[in-house]
């Protein structure tokens, strides 16, 4: 995957994720509409590759107003990842050389890997994650399960231990998926299944779309390292 192709794919996936997020604010109070209708229009332009350099810059400026409006991210980690992808794309457009563009896009790929690895690292250090209690707490009293029926999952301790360790091992081992193109594809399929499950169980739909937008960067970085090693 060439750098240009991976960047263009990232632009398209980010535009789709921003369109999805913006539509969710169309029925919001007018001050929110004033921020998200322009974001929707700019995202359409980004989707079709119209003046991407300036559209990305305009989206960054708009993102700063959105941050101010909500005094932080509206949707926690997914907004932060969205901002990271957007800022990297904007910076890439203004980099003086191809090498610098690679550094910025590589930074996005590394952050994607770290997003899984550090999440796994903080969990494995916590005994309540290792024995399944943390996930039991998530189902029992956290604000995240999308229905009361899901709270009954707290009554399946063995399942929760298996789920906890599956999440921990997947997150910690994700960097190893970079070893070959095939393992990376397998890693990303598992990762998107993980995000899909989180979206269904906890309503984190925005995480699914925005993390997908960062996947081209890791596919490009893996090939970049792989090809350099072969030469």
């Amino acid at each position: 995957m060439s750098l240009d192709y991976a960047i263009r794919l990232t632009e398209i996936l980010l535009a789709l994720a921003f369109i999805q997020q913006s539509i969710e604010h169309f029925r919001a109070p007018r001050d929110e509409q004033r921020l998200f209708i322009p974001r929707f229009i700019l995202s359409i332009l980004l989707l079709f590759g119209f003046q991407t350099q300036w559209v990305c810059l305009a989206l960054v400026i708009l993102a700063l107003f959105i941050l101010r409006r909500f005094q932080g991210p509206y949707n926690g980690g997914s907004d932060r990842m969205g901002l990271l992808v957007l800022c990297c794309l904007s910076l890439i457009n203004f980099m003086p050389s191809s090498l610098w563009r690679e550094y910025v896009f590589g930074y996005l790929a590394i952050q994607l890997v770290l997003s899984y690895f550090f999440s796994g690292w903080v969990k494995i250090k916590n005994p309540e994650w290792r024995n399944g209690q943390a996930l039991r707490d998530v189902f029992q009293f956290s604000a995240y399960p999308v229905s009361e029926a899901l709270r009954t999952w707290m009554n399946w301790p063995r399942l929760l231990v298996v789920m906890s360790w599956s999440v921990i091992l997947f997150e910690l081992l994700f960097p190893l998926s970079l070893m070959t193109p095939t393992t990376l594809i397998i890693g990303l399929v598992i990762a998107s299944t993980f995000h899909l499950a989180n979206a269904c169980l906890f309503g984190f739909n925005r995480f699914f779309w925005i993390w997908m937008a960062a996947y081209p960067s890791i596919l490009w970085l893996q090939q970049r390292i792989f090809i350099v090693e072969q030469l």
Partner: protein
Amino acid sequence: MSVEAMLQTIKLLLPALMPSWRFFSVIAPSPRIEITLLKTAKDTPDSWQEFRPRPAHLSIGSMLKRMFYNARWNEALFLTSLAERLSSNPTEHSSQEILKRIKAELVRNSFDSFDSAATPHLQFRLVFVHREGEQLQKHVTFISPVYGSFGDTDS
């Protein structure tokens, strides 16, 4: 935009550029927003109702539909963040955002037993749920002033 406002915005942006990625490192006490409707601003509330309780069941089809449009739930997640902010670092922004969204819900008349003529005043509170041993505990960490449902602060 003033220099101070710009610095504040940059401070909000930095965690996105250099993220720490510590999702669910610990399961912290979880906030619920509860509201009560009052006849007068001086009434003492005798019952509280959870604001935006989750549905009893959600079908797989609904979950998949929410992949594409999940505005109400994402607003509920934002309310959770606001409740956490209001408990750890109270600001006018957090309380006004919560109040505005409660009022909007009342205006849409989707809240049980809301009658703007009979109970024109409202109050909200934050209840944090956490586990101590095997028992769930609830602690009220914030009680708002009494507000007019459609007007400004009464007290």
